[in-house]
């Protein structure tokens, strides 16, 4: 057995460029497939746990396209409409509501720096909804009315750390940095957080809110609560189930499309493996015939070629898996920027299930692409070898 193995290995190594090309094509498509696969699973799981942790059941947003509004709030973008502060009172008075956290978002365009700063006004109820909020330096909450907490990217671009003074020229507001948030990989990283009342003063939005995030005493009360809250003038309810359904649909659609493109790439690489094997068989016709002449059976020749195919595809699959592990974090960064509601957690969790499924797929691909070349090799007639080339 070991002899056959080393024979097959030797044949592959004899043509390093050729084998290398076949392996790299396979590896690239496997890597992408694995990334997409585990990303899709990771997103769904992370979204679920994050929403669970937040315990958020619904949001009150201003009238307008509610889906658009909810997506903007979660991505930290400005809305074109706002809620009166009375909505917050009304929501807090509802018997089913446990926490109602107000939010005020404001965009400050900085055309000279080519970016737009997003400011978020919060009150202390926000901490109930974001229990994982961690600051690398400074306090976890605003020290005074004139405090600001910076996302880590915001702190980097502004070159400020906890305790520093901070001046916002557009609004003329003098602030002191209370803390800098730990990197989370989400939109939080680039935001400027200030107390709600300060934000309302800074942006001349006295008594206005962008949205109210709501946690209920009991999640099963959603139906009744949303009916009551829907009646608050000027506001509308978007439940998290509705929103998550939409996001999962969108992400699912993109995932299906991208998986099918990756599958095409895999198919192409399989064709390449097939071609490589076929060329090997043709090239080594003489050698294989001699093997048959000195006593190798048809099955043994068939097995040899299949073994070569298996080694080739296993190498490709292995490289692909390693590539996915190396490539994953980079790809995740790109994907998180596009995906609505990108969760804080890592999305690309390598799971045994995905790895084993990929290995099985790799082996299946190898065996399938070996069938014809191996069959062709096994049919070679030993007598022909004696006649010469």
């Amino acid at each position: 057995m070991l002899n056959w193995f080393s024979l097959a290995w030797g044949n592959l190594v004899r043509r390093p460029v050729r084998s290398g090309l076949a392996v790299s094509g396979l590896a690239a498509s496997i890597a992408v497939l694995v990334c997409l696969w585990s990303f899709g699973n990771g997103y769904r799981r992370a979204l679920n746990t994050e929403l669970d942790r937040m315990g958020l059941q619904m949001m009150l947003v201003p009238l307008g396209c509610p889906y658009d509004a909810a997506a903007r709030v979660l991505k930290g973008q400005n809305l074109d409409n706002s809620l009166p502060a009375s909505v917050l009172e009304a929501a807090r008075n509802d018997p089913a509501v446990a926490v109602a956290a107000p939010l005020l978002l404001a965009a400050v365009p900085r055309p000279r720096d080519g970016r737009t700063d997003m400011w978020v006004g919060l009150d202390e109820t926000a901490l109930d909804l974001k229990p994982w909020w961690k600051t690398t330096s400074g306090a976890r909450w605003f020290a005074s009315e004139d405090s600001v907490i910076l996302g880590c990217d915001a702190a980097e671009t502004e070159m400020r750390s906890a305790g520093d003074r901070f001046y916002s020229p557009e609004t003329g507001q003098k602030l002191q940095v209370s803390g800098v948030l730990e990197r989370s990989g989400t939109s939080d990283d680039s935001l400027f957080f200030v107390p709600l009342s300060t934000a309302q003063r800074m942006f001349h939005e006295t008594n206005r809110l962008t949205a109210v995030a709501i946690r209920l005493r009991d999640p099963t009360l959603v139906r009744g609560a949303s009916e009551r809250l829907q009646k608050i003038p000027g506001a509308q309810v978007v439940t998290m189930t509705e929103m998550m359904g939409t996001f999962l649909n969108l992400v699912g659609a993109v995932r299906t499309l991208s998986t099918s493109v990756a599958a095409v790439a895999l198919l192409v690489s399989v064709l390449s493996v097939f071609n490589t094997l076929l060329a090997t068989v043709i090239e080594r016709t003489g050698e294989l015939m001699v093997m048959r002449a000195i006593g190798a059976s048809r099955a043994q020749v068939f097995g040899l070629i299949t073994l070569e195919a298996l080694l080739l595809t296993l190498a490709g699959t292995g490289c692909g898996l390693v590539g996915a592990l190396l490539l994953g974090p980079g790809l995740e960064g790109v994907v998180k920027r596009f995906v609505p509601m990108a969760p804080v957690e890592r999305l690309l969790v390598p799971s045994l299930q995905i790895f084993s499924a990929t290995l099985v797929m790799g082996v299946a691909v190898g065996v399938l692409s070996a069938l014809y070349p191996a069959w062709r090799a096994s049919r070679l007639h030993p007598a022909a070898a004696l006649k010469g080339d």
Binding site: C65, Q230, V254, A262, A279
Partner: protein, 393 residues
């Protein structure tokens, strides 16, 4: 010409290998082509759909599901209603050119087909400037205006007295049939607003209002005023340009991602092409040596191998594009089931520049793939090649 013949001869010698290599290129190109033309088709389809709706702003009841815009575009039964009195308030806002009230209801027939009834007033014609009606617009006392597709399915002609599907106890006269609009209107059955409200028992209620502005540039100002009017707190004002932008930006953000994947597929196929050529060169070491010995220069050999590659890539890419075009119906049907907000128009359309770009992309990638094997072939020393039997690669 002789070089061309020579290069094509090599591919004929190994038909299976050439076929497979070409198939790889074809698959990758087909994926790229479908994606590119789909992106374009989707964008244009969305725009066309909104244009055909003819409205700049959509007013829908508060508390409706988030996909109200999609419901108005594609037809559905609405779970919530607007009071007809709101219409006057909307009309009184300066900058509103036309405010067309709509009552929409959908019924599923026993065969699963949906019939959408839309009650409108004749001012809808100010929005739907592209409509051409055979016959007349129905009056308040009955009669229907059928979309061309709906009329074809039910076999209706102008003047027929027909039973209304889904509400069988009621009959109506077909007063007019719409010429095809290639939009959702084709499948709708229009009637007068009052007749629809009576038929479905929702007098003085509307499902949505289509608003056309006198100056579309002034959208933001009008939207603010609409939200500020008394009824503004109980209705949802949806500027359609926003909806369009939101969906567009979603599609756009996926474009880069999907494009990268398709490019990767093309690269993988390039690796395959490179591999096939390496084999071909290795097998022909002797032959190339002879060519060199009888006077071919290194550049000639290099060019020969590049020419071979270009042939395979051109044929593969061409085949891929044609394949993508002919399978576009199937691909499209599948994509439609995956996507929210799919416009009714064909999504994958033939565009010369997309086809050209795909072909060019495949050829460039093919040339890159040819460099290594071609260089190897060019370096073959004539004298040495005559001595070897198989060659090295």
């Amino acid at each position: 010409m002789t070089w061309l013949q020579l290069s094509s001869k090599e591919w004929r010698r190994r038909p299976l290998r050439t076929g497979l290599t070409g198939a790889g290129v074809a698959l990758a190109t087909a994926a790229l082509f479908s994606l590119l033309s789909f992106q374009k088709g989707y964008q244009e389809g969305m725009r066309g759909e909104l244009d055909r709706l003819g409205a700049h702003v959509l007013v829908v009841p508060k508390g409706c599901p988030y996909d109200a815009a999609s419901m108005a575009l594609h037809g559905a039964s609405w779970p919530c209603f607007l009071k007809a009195a709101y219409l006057d308030e909307v009309r009184s806002v300066p900058g509103v050119a036309t405010a067309a009230p709509v009552f929409m209801a959908a019924y599923y027939q026993t065969n699963g087909e949906q019939v959408v009834y839309v009650g409108v007033q004749s001012n809808i014609l100010a929005l739907k400037t592209a409509w051409r009606i055979q016959g007349q617009f129905p009056g308040p006392d009955g009669g229907i205006l059928s979309g061309s597709e709906a009329a074809r399915v039910h076999g209706w002609r102008v003047g027929d007295r027909v039973a209304l599907p889904g509400v069988a106890q009621h009959g109506a006269t077909v007063t007019g049939i719409l010429d095809p609009t290639s939009g959702a209107d084709d499948t709708f059955v229009y009637m007068h607003l009052e007749a629809a409200q009576r038929l479905f028992g929702h007098s003085n209620e509307l499902t949505h209002i289509l608003v056309r502005l006198s100056q579309p540039e002034n959208m933001d100002g009008v939207v603010t005023q609409l939200r500020g009017c008394d009824a503004g707190l109980s209705m949802n004002i949806v500027p359609l340009a926003h909806v369009f932008h939101t969906i567009q930006s979603l599609v756009f953000s996926t474009r880069l991602f999907l494009g990268c994947l398709a490019a990767m597929a093309l690269l993988v196929s390039a690796a395959g092409v490179s591999n096939s050529l390496l084999m071909a060169v290795a097998e022909r070491t002797r032959e190339i040596g002879i060519l060199r010995a009888i006077g071919a220069s290194q550049a000639d050999i290099f060019r020969l191998v590049c020419l071979e590659t270009l042939q395979v890539c051109a044929v593969g890419a061409g085949g891929g594009i044609v394949m993508a075009f002919f399978t576009s119906r199937i691909v499209e049907t599948w994509v439609r089931t995956q996507l929210p907000f799919a416009p009714t128009e064909p999504l994958i359309r033939w565009e010369w520049w997309v086809a050209g770009a795909c072909l060019a992309g495949a050829l460039i990638v093919g040339l890159l793939a040819a460099i290594l094997p071609a260089a190897r072939a060019a370096r073959i020393a004539p004298a040495e090649a005559m001595r070897t039997v198989g060659g090295r690669a």
